[in-house]
Amino acid sequence: MVKVKLWGSLRHWTDGQSVVEVEAKTFKDLLDRLCETYPGLAPQIRRGVSMSLDGVIYREAWFQEIRPDSEVVLMPFMQGG
């Protein structure tokens, strides 16, 4: 299981939890499990999210592997100028 930290406004769809646990070995797994377990997150995930994995931010790396002890933080999709 991977512990995933969510940003505050997503708690509405996770029964108030700011950290949830899902079974995931990759970024894609993580997104799929989150959508299945918490369907309210699906619109945001479809619009785009980034993932911080042990402090490194990934934007679209579906196959990025996640270790069970990794720090995983869901973030909005990064934008820049």
Partner: protein, 744 residues
């Protein structure tokens, strides 16, 4: 991406060769968007709304179409309505449909055989409007009963019961705010406003479109991302991507503002209708009225601090408006607001509201300068009131490795403390100040990212090298990429030419944004060079009759890996290239990747100002920028980014603003009334580059383009507030606003 063979000793990287585009630019030979021409070309022009908000009752184009020389007239009805919300917004921003949403919104366009005929045709178009109530202020737009710009655009994250204009909400942070504030000896709660500002690029948007009868199209335009232009335009026009080739021109500034389309779909639609090439060049007033400035903002910040300078809690409420269409920029501001601090309790809330203003476009580090301006202003005021050194307070509270960031992740190695220490050690920090003078300091932060990147590297038979990349050169990327190729290949910089390819000549490259190009394209170039080196080593191995693994690449030549490989004289790149037709054919290297690992970036700005108490005029006396750039590939360009950010920030802080009248129309759509800094307004901008290697890049490179716009607003506001003896809480701090503050 795992770091392989990190390189820390350099021969070419870190030098300052002449810029490859310099001669063309100073002699006028460089081809910008407006310089493109084609046989039979028509002039395109766009009719824009004089109303900030109105229903389009009817558009009669018959008189315009009947004018001799007019070859095409289009309106919003000539575009299919995309299903996708994002695409539909882009299309409707280029050409309105049922409603106009801001002063300057496009309603129709013509293509004619001359500019004079096009202008006459625009005058002949009869648009009947039904004016609607408008709103241009973000706080007013969020109130119940405010005029609704677009209904039904709120995301699922917006709580019920809010104004229909509120489209987006977010929250970040951790810890117990109440407990944090209870520990403070002083809590300050302040509200701030910042005006929308334009990126101020000198080159107006321009494009030339040519659609042929068989459905193929070419588009030449000034843009920060021609592959994304292709994505948007092909979707809006209902074309296959392969049938639309987009070629970028030289670019006269972008700063994020040229990361989308405004006129390109219009030119394509006109060309399709006319059957001839169509060129559109925006006038300056069109650039102001109808392209994308940054968000306007209204913010409340509350911070608690102990007497010895420890921040106990921080809270921010950010209300941004990205104009008439939804945008998520406030997400970035809310994440960045407190990123420089190690806080036990922190919370940021963000809201975006629609207003009758042009659709926001990115502007370097979008969303961060506003939020950090508000936070850093309150930190400075706390330092003033508690009698503390503002730099020492920032050092005491600085985020570092292991800090739980205000936006969620735990920081790895970051350069904030080192940057603050550099500022502390600099003579600027202790230089004496005179009467009516003040010194301001601010930290800044930006995320940076990498993205989709594709590079080809061709070894020419004369021993020179061509690098093909897919990002317009907006900040010296051709020089930086050539330097990294030279470093890796071991041949002189002068032997390499880097060009920017069109969309049919290379795989997809993301837009030039996120401070990504030197980092991501540089990484791909290094990998492409390694690919080519592998092939050259294989050719040498064949010459020598040994295994490829027994060949090394040293100083631009293949050499035997050791005594067991045999004794052979080195084979240089030029020698291998010269016989490449006889040894297997052309040699090229390629690399395609979606890069991550850009690494966040911090900067510190220090500024001295003098405020004239009689006129409210602020003179910037001294300015120093400190920034962790990772390895500075071409230090001139890095310094240029740092200086440019400071200069844009000076304009944003002191003078620049979109001014709307009570009628909802933009009052200052030109550089006479929208005042950007000119050379005579500025001191020399000093720079200190810190080179803390980014572990996510083979050479330790970190993006540098956006962070420099983040600290100036607060640094200057803090300096002005200290010089004036009164806290300024609204940007720009124009002379009338400073005088009003001085009078209380």
């Amino acid at each position: 991406m795992a770091l392989d063979q990190p390189k820390r000793e350099f021969r070419y990287v870190g030098t300052r060769p002449n810029r490859p585009d310099g001669v063309d630019k100073v002699t006028g030979r460089a081809q910008y968007g407006a310089d493109m021409t084609a046989p039979g070309m028509l002039t395109g022009a766009i009719l824009r709304s004089p109303h900030p908000h109105a229903k389009i009752v009817s558009i009669d184009t018959s008189a315009a179409a009947a004018i001799p020389g007019v070859r095409a007239v289009i309106t919003g009805a000539d575009f299919a309505r995309p299903d996708d919300n994002f695409l539909r917004d882009v299309q409707e921003n280029c050409m309105a449909r049922e409603k106009v949403l801001y002063d300057g919104h496009a309603v129709a366009a013509v293509a004619a055989t001359s500019a004079a005929i096009a202008k006459a045709a625009l005058k002949a178009i009869k648009v009947t409007y039904q004016a609607l109530p408008h709103v241009t202020d973000v706080d007013a737009a969020m109130k119940p009963g405010a005029p609704v710009v677009q209904a039904g655009r709120a995301l699922e994250n917006v709580p019920g019961g809010m104004s229909d204009n509120v489209t987006n909400a977010c929250e970040f942070g951790h810890g117990d705010l109440d407990a944090g504030f209870a520990k403070a000896d002083l809590v300050i709660d302040r509200s701030f406003k910042t005006a929308a500002t334009h990126q101020g690029y000198i080159e107006p948007h321009a494009c030339l479109a040519s659609v042929t009868a068989d459905g193929k199209a070419d588009l030449w335009c000034c843009t920060q991302g021609h592959f994304f232009v292709r994505t948007l335009c092909s979707a809006i026009m209902g074309m296959e991507a392969s049938q639309l080739r987009v070629t970028p021109s030289e670019i006269g500034g972008g700063f994020g503002g040229k990361t989308t389309v405004f006129i390109e779909p219009v030119a394509l639609a006109l060309s399709k209708m006319a059957g001839r090439p169509v060129k559109i060049v925006m006038a300056r007033d069109e650039v102001f009225r109808a392209t994308g400035p940054t968000v306007s903002s209204s913010m409340d910040v509350r911070i608690g601090m102990t007497k010895d300078g420890r921040i106990t809690a921080g809270e921010a409420n950010l209300r941004y408006s990205g104009g008439a269409f939804p945008c998520g920029t406030v997400d970035m501001g809310a994440q960045a607001a407190f990123a420089a601090y190690d806080l036990a309790a922190v919370r940021t809330y963000g809201w975006n509201a629609l207003t009758n203003r042009p659709k926001e476009a990115a502007y370097r580090a979008p969303g961060a300068p506003q939020a950090i301006y508000a936070v850093e202003s309150v930190v400075d005021e706390l330092c003033q009131k508690l009698g503390l050194d503002p730099l020492m307070v920032r050092l005491k509270n600085a985020a570092k490795k292991g800090t739980l960031s205000s936006y969620g992740p735990t920081f790895n190695e970051i350069g904030l403390e080192a940057t603050l220490q550099a500022a502390k050690a600099h003579p600027h920090y202790t230089a004496p100040l005179g009467k009516n003078q003040g010194r301001g300091l601010s930290c800044g932060f930006w995320f940076n990212f990498g993205g989709n990147t594709c590079v080809s590297l061709n070894i020419n038979t004369d021993g020179t090298v061509g690098v093909t990349e897919g990002n317009p050169d907006i900040g010296g990327s051709r020089a930086s990429i050539s330097l990294m190729a030279a470093e890796e290949l071991g041949i002189p910089y002068e032997n390499i030419r880097t060009i920017v390819a069109d969309t049919n000549s290379l795989g997809f490259n993301d837009v030039t944004d996120g401070s990504r190009v030197t980092f991501a394209v540089g990484l791909a170039t290094i990998k492409a060079a390694r690919d080519a080196i592998g092939k050259m080593k294989a050719r040498a191995a064949k010459f020598w009759g040994i295994d490829e693994e027994a060949v090394n690449w040293v100083d631009g030549a293949a050499v035997p890996a050791g005594p067991n490989a045999g004794k052979f004289p080195p084979l240089s790149l030029a020698e291998i290239a010269a016989v490449s037709p006889q040894t297997g054919g052309p040699i090229a290297g390629h690399y395609e990747v979606n890069v991550d690992g850009a690494g966040v970036s911090f900067g510190v700005h220090l500024v001295d100002v003098e405020v004239d108490p009689e006129t409210g005029f602020t003179k910037v006396l001294r300015y120093t920028v400190f920034q962790d750039a990772g390895k500075a590939v071409h230090p001139d360009y890095v310094e240029g980014q740092m200086q440019g950010g400071a200069v844009q920030g000076i304009g944003w802080a002191l003078n620049e603003e979109y001014i709307y009248g009570a009628d909802g129309r933009l009052q200052n759509p030109g550089f006479l009334d929208y005042r950007i800094p000119v050379a005579s307004d500025l001191p020399k901008i000093d720079t200190v580059i810190l080179e803390i290697p980014n572990p996510g890049h083979p050479y330790g490179v970190r993006g540098v383009g956006e962070t420099p716009i983040v600290p100036p607003l607060a640094a200057i506001a803090n300096a002005v507030s200290r010089a004036a003896g009164v806290r300024l809480t609204e940007l720009p701090m124009s002379p009338p606003r400073i005088l009003a503050a001085l009078k209380g």
